[in-house]
């Protein structure tokens, strides 16, 4: 009887652990460690050096072997924030050669953490923004070499997470942009869209986003919304787009666009960027169609 009760208790304990840990760490799932900084934005006086660290934390009961390496990156022309990665020191605005870090290979123990120290040394003639990415790639096992007499096909998976570096040469930054070709249209589905061309005319990356407000002459707001963010490096061009899907009643309105060029700075708690405001007059007829769209005098 005692043995029976004991075995029941044992089964309950085993089931509890299986249930609990099975949910947190699915058997055979590979969970990569976490980074405490997925972006590093730093301002360095040309000719001087800045230091910092990134902590990688393993929340699993398995140790993780990692290797670190630098590459270059840039935004894709679509300017929606998607990126292209290239070998280190490929691009003119690469900061890869300025960055040193240690260690480059290590094992993060189960439920442990590893601190990676980095230094960034900007050359004396640095001007504007420079960029690099530090990849944390998990060193994973590979399929054993197959029998050479058989036809075989294997695909190895490499998994990596990234910490993006944005390095600004202190005292040389020009955060400027041109916003033009602003259009206000209505599509076949009845939705209004506001589009503007965006050009980064400065020497540093800009994340631009903003809002629009459509209000009558009494200041009553009939429509408001946000522009999708446009991510750019110096010289990049993109589009800011916003939509309004509801009807706007007949009348004359003011359309006010506010574009914030400093969203990246805000995100990094490094202040606020310049804000561009543009105003237009619009007229909507009884059918809800746009009959006039012009710059405010």
């Amino acid at each position: 009887m005692k043995i029976n009760t004991l075995s029941k208790k044992l089964v309950v304990i085993i089931l509890f652990f299986f249930f609990f840990f099975g949910f947190i760490y699915p058997i055979s799932a590979i969970t990569l460690p976490y980074l405490n900084k997925s972006k590093v934005r730093v301002s360095v006086v040309p000719g001087q050096q800045e230091y910092g660290d990134i902590v990688i934390e393993n929340s699993t009961p398995d140790e993780r072997a990692m290797q670190l390496y630098l590459e270059d990156w840039r935004y894709l022309p679509i300017c929606d924030g998607s990126k292209d990665f290239l070998p280190a020191n490929t691009l003119a605005n690469s900061a890869a050669s300025w960055i040193t870090f240690s260690p480059a290979e290590f094992i993060v123990p189960a439920f442990g953490r590893q601190r990676i120290s980095y230094s960034i040394k900007a050359p004396a003639n640095a001007s504007g923004g420079y960029y690099a990415v530090l990849f944390f790639e998990m060193i994973a096992g590979k399929i054993p070499a197959p029998d050479k007499n058989q036809t075989s096909a294997s695909v190895n998976l490499a998994i990596r997470i990234a910490s993006l570096f944005y390095v600004e040469a202190d005292g040389t930054i020009k955060r400027t942009a041109v916003i033009d070709n602003i259009a206000f249209k209505k599509d076949d589905a009845g939705a209004f869209s506001i589009q503007a061309d965006f050009a980064n005319t400065g020497n540093v990356d800009i994340t631009a986003g903003g809002t629009f407000h459509i209000m009558d002459k009494e200041g009553l707001i009939y429509a408001r919304g946000e522009f999708s963010n446009a991510y750019s490096f110096a010289g990049d061009k993109g589009k800011l787009v916003a939509t309004w899907k509801n009807k706007i009643p007949k009348g004359r309105y003011d359309l006010i666009l506010t574009v914030d060029l400093g969203k990246a700075l805000e995100e990094a708690n490094l202040g606020r960027g310049p804000v561009v405001t543009r105003e237009f007059e619009i007229e909507i007829n009884e059918k809800g169609e746009i009959v006039e769209f012009k710059n405010s005098a």
Binding site: P26, Y34, L35, S38, G141, T151, A153, V155, L157, Y231
Partner: protein, 218 residues
């Protein structure tokens, strides 16, 4: 017969004991709860707690499954992040090599921030040598993940060769993605465009390639 009655009685007794034990257990639980709440009410004090929850946008969990195509059953879940597509069988009727299995790579992006991120899938040729590869013999399907196989809505279906894709957070509800790798079957409804089955005359040997999965914030 008498033995049966005795056994039934013993079972009834056993059941009664279990019911009693359960009742006692529940009563004890309620008693403990009442006592603890009474004690805490009597001695309550405000504790200022603070906890730092780190940004976890860089979290990524991958699960690799080998699936039997005939019934979509998982036959293997590997901790080794690699796909062994070597289980070819000869289809003598169509003169092609087929595989009774396909692989799924389930991706979970662990994100507790409002930041945007993108998940990038990059491939390197599955080749034996410069002339022979399987890049147009493998279908790669990207799905929003569900519990059953193959599961989810198909986002993109391409040949291995053209499966370099960049998926944004808004495309992957809940940060979940399933990527399915399967040898082309010749069934146009099943295979990705521009894929063909592996011909029986395909040069034999060891074909190897790689897939690089990257998680990066905006």
């Amino acid at each position: 017969m008498g033995g049966n009655y005795l056994r039934r009685d013993a079972l009834k007794e056993d059941l009664k004991m279990k019911k009693n034990s359960l009742r006692q257990f529940l009563l004890a639980g309620v008693f403990i709860l009442l006592i603890s709440s009474a004690v805490s009410a009597a001695t309550s004090e405000t504790l200022n707690l603070s906890a730092y929850v780190p940004d976890a946008v860089s979290g990524l969990t991958i699960t690799v499954n080998k699936i039997r195509a005939s019934d979509n059953a998982i036959v293997e879940t590997g901790s080794n992040p690699a796909l062994n597509l070597a289980d070819f069988t000869v289809d003598a009727v169509n003169n092609i090599l087929t595989s009774p299995y396909y692989y799924s790579v389930d991706v979970q992006v662990n994100d507790n921030t409002s930041s945007n991120w993108s998940f990038i899938h990059q491939v390197s040729s599955i080749q034996r040598d410069a002339q022979n590869n399987l890049d147009e013999n493998i279908s790669v399907t990207f799905l929003t993940q569900l519990q059953t196989f193959p599961g989810g809505n198909t986002l993109i279906k391409r040949s291995f060769k053209s499966s370099n894709v960049n998926l944004s957070k808004s495309m992957l509800p809940g940060g979940q993605l399933r990527i399915i790798y399967g040898v082309a079957t010749g069934d146009a409804n099943n295979d990705a465009p521009n894929t063909t089955p592996v011909s029986i005359s395909k040069a034999s040997g060891t074909y190897t390639g790689s897939v690089l999965l990257t998680l990066v914030t905006y």
